[in-house]
């Protein structure tokens, strides 16, 4: 059951030479018939639980909002953004690589947003 839970994560890493910070925000979840959210990662700011049931938090708006809030908290501007989204309509039989041969029953969706927080010196040079 825990493997069928969603998960939200926000990772950052700073480049030592330039001071730029790479931000990777991801969220994934499971859906019934590709429409109804069963369990998704909790994208709320102060989340009590890492997973939320029957609520769709795997959206571009919510993922981008968390990335933008992090950038605002660091006092930097978020740029070089790119989305990498994946959706799987087949459900693998647990423990195997064989999918249940009926698509769109239990589906998986993931959104990944990558961006770069540039420090103030780099932003001035761009101007």
């Amino acid at each position: 059951m825990t493997s069928l839970a969603g998960c939200f994560s926000l990772e950052t890493a700073e480049l030592t030479k330039s001071g730029d910070e790479n931000v990777l925000v991801t969220n994934y979840g499971w859906y019934l018939f590709n429409v109804f959210p069963v369990a998704t990662g909790n994208a709320a700011e102060d989340a009590f639980s890492p997973t939320v049931l029957f609520r769709n938090d795997v959206t571009m708006d919510k993922v981008q909002q968390r990335a933008q809030r992090y950038a605002d908290s660091q006092g930097k501007k978020l740029g070089d953004m790119a989305y990498h989204n994946m959706s799987s309509v087949m459900f693998n039989i647990p423990g195997t690589d064989f999918p249940v041969p009926l698509p769109y029953v239990l589906t998986f969706r993931e959104i990944q947003l990558s961006g770069v927080l540039k420090n103030a010196v780099a932003r001035e040079e761009e101007r």
Partner: protein, 174 residues
């Protein structure tokens, strides 16, 4: 008899479920980001069963036995998002594909994604390259709108023989 009926029912459900989908998703939190997706189902990795309709995205519209999943159609949908949102161009354009297989290569669910940031008016002065997306549709509109040139331009060959008086024939003149 009962097994045959349940098998045919399963095939009918499978056929109904095997449908492509084209979608344009726009997020306007801070920057305006667009994510375009088009999917299809392929039999034996090359026979198209169903594809999304890029001319009607977000409409659950499907084109049967046609393959519409290609980069040109994705860029056309990005261009549509540019026009509908009043943007002047795109930045950080990225495209990629994902695949899922059923019973090895019997069935393949193929998806092509394109992600970009829409550059809004007044935002062009930020550093970095702004890529003006000119899809096939825009190019066709521009070519039909422009008047034909009155006289053809004279194209000078890079190498042309030059006869110099008192000298020989010089083939190149830099």
């Amino acid at each position: 008899m009962a097994a045959g009926k349940s098998a045919s029912a399963a095939v009918a459900v499978l056929c109904a479920a095997l449908c492509g989908c084209a979608s344009i998703n726009v997020s306007r939190v801070g920057k305006v980001m667009v994510d375009v997706e088009n999917t299809n189902w392929l039999l034996f990795n090359f026979i198209p069963l169903a594809s999304g309709n890029p001319e009607r995205p977000n409409a659950n519209d499907c084109r049967f036995f046609r393959d519409t999943v290609n980069l040109a159609n994705n860029i056309d949908m990005v261009d549509r998002a540019v026009r509908e949102n009043g943007a002047v161009g795109v930045r950080d354009l990225v495209s990629y594909t994902t695949d899922e297989y059923v019973l090895f290569v019997l069935l393949k669910h193929h998806a092509m994604h394109t992600s970009a940031e829409l550059v809004m008016p007044g935002d062009e002065t930020r550093g970095g390259e702004v890529q003006k997306v000119e899809s096939r549709l825009i190019r066709e509109e521009r070519m039909t709108a422009e008047p034909p040139p009155e006289s053809p331009e004279r194209v000078e060959a890079p190498f042309s023989p030059v006869w110099r008086p008192g000298g020989g024939l010089k083939l190149m003149d830099f």
